[in-house]
Symmetry: D3
């Protein structure tokens, strides 16, 4: 880990800007990043990739592995693509991930989620989060019928 | 709040048992609890209710409100009952609620979830939990296309 | 689930706006939504409802059920209304729900929470979140005295 | 960080036991640990400390800092000790920390929490966890009245 | 989604056992599962794989993808393997995942984590979970110096 | 708890501003707050403290206790300061605390985290959050080797 430093080391002035990461656009991307961007655009038939991929591009290995996993997982199989997008949204809402809620809300709509389906999805997510805590708080033991 | 006490007040000996709650069985239940138990058994066509309801029975108002909400929410509507159970399971897995994972795994299977569907459900839940953190950590701003 | 589509289906251009939901104002609301809005305004003696209710209005059933549950739960009973608002805030802070922190901070202040009470509330919430992880990490088994 | 090793280094046989930590009892404790245990027993008027402290004793500095923080925070101030215990329990239930739920359930009861108060506490915790997700999912913006 | 059923459909008797999944042992595993198990055993130089992999074996695709990702990610690179295991443990402790805490505690020790390092790791994890909530609750805006 | 009020009590008009807290600057701070600010500036060799401390200044006891804990915990010991900052960041990313992600990203960079190290940190955090849920969902029991 090389020259590791203590809490008082490497001081920077409070007014010294620490630029956060910025998105990497196609025109500025390295070849291995462009290859992933191209595959995303081809697979999803879009003209540009979302910010998520432009930020992951800072780490081409994570970009590649994540896209390949997403592509494998989100393709229709035993579950259709819409159901998968709604499950994705349910998790993102539970975790409170603002970006993921916005992007998977859009993805679920694109896959066919109607306003009525969204309303029921949210009702289930809310109820599950409530009963999860009721089960925790009352310390409910798992029924033997679920364990045998 | 009546006789409220400080941190050193009301001492109990470390070896004095503090019995946790126990399930309330039908035979010991008050009439308003029995009414809810009866409705659960009738609706679900089961001989007995799960531990969750037997523990909530300590608070008949919460028991009644929770059951009525669950019954309203989990009935097939714009989403079928199986999809709802899988969303419930996805939330419970994300929160790590052991009881809820066990009971809704069983409920989802009863509603038709095959092993292949469970496998894909878990793959989506895992991936969503991963990308939620990648989006957080890279501080990805929401794309204008999701906001306009 | 009708015409369910795959990951490559239903393409939209990346620059095609996906309008997020907007609040439903009283003047645009359906009768069953207005009935709930009226009850909120009457119960809370306010001139307008918060954004939370205007968004839930997209799903009138969830709006109605949620308001009726909140009204039942948040009314003073064995716990006074201020204590309930502080517990609500403690949960919202733990979950990191920005909207809920803002609204229940306001609600708790309205119910009588002073700055000193808020300070102690936050200290407890912070400490609980810390010791929850110490207990997890050290894998502390539950004392027999809490189980007997 | 000394002799840091790769993923294949330091192999142990799968059947080689990796003993988890065990509680440190008073009789085996170092003087600085005994000093903290003595203060806990005196402050809480108990004959022995809970498992939580016996496990933290593996790191005397964390033991001391945590106990001193808990003692400072949990003493009655602008909030009474019972309210503080219930807030602690609300957080622990939300996080699903089994040890903390068990121990703070006991602590809250000792401080005066009745079964009716527990029931209302759980109802609020459940509702807050539900509405936190509804606010997330509907992407409700904070009302100007909460920000001005 | 085939024969999707409603909440009252497919009733099972409450006393009908719903066997949970069981681990898939090497001797019973399909060839593609054995291939992954062999690679885990070779890479980690162990005689048998952990339960985690034996359960994932119910879904060979997830087993394969997860192992390949773990192998790629957990190998020493810009961060050494010990640091990676401690970060893994920090996340698992924060999420309260009992299995992951147990297994990555063991993995981190195997990679060289001493009791003193574990103690400091836990202190940081506890403190971060505390200050995360203080920042949430006080609604602290991000300093311009972190954004410019 | 003094004059505790019900849900309909203490009405304020919806358009009545409820000012959120604002940062307390050095020039406006009480002596005990200034003493902490001075120690932070001296220890970290910065000209001003971050917003986090300016908001905690609303509760001088929490400000003092939190700073003293952070100073004790984050100083290099068995773990170097950089490793500690990365663990802090891993927890903050898992919890989705926007302020903490921004500030500890900056702190970790200041302590020597390169872009490559950040990339691997994020990969581990993402993977841990994924496998935590796979372990939960498959209900994987802890291996005897981790318990003996």
């Amino acid at each position: 880990m090389g020259a590791v430093v203590g809490i008082v080391a490497n001081p920077v002035r409070a007014d010294e800007p620490m630029s956060p990461r910025s998105p990497i656009e196609y025109r500025d991307a390295a070849p291995e990043v462009r290859a992933v961007f191209d595959d995303i655009k081809r697979t999803r038939q879009v003209d540009d990739v979302n910010n998520f991929w432009k930020y992951l591009a800072h780490d081409p290995r994570t970009l590649k592995r994540t896209w390949e996993s997403v592509k494998e997982i989100m393709t229709a199989g035993a579950l259709d693509a819409l159901t998968k997008e709604m499950i994705y949204l349910a998790v993102s809402v539970t975790n409170g991930c603002a970006y993921c809620i916005a992007s998977h809300n859009a993805a679920a709509r694109k896959a066919g989620m109607t306003e009525a389906m969204f309303g029921e999805l949210m009702a289930v997510v809310g109820m599950a989060n409530e009963t999860n805590r009721l089960a925790n708080g009352y310390r409910v033991p798992v029924d033997p019928a679920f364990e045998a």
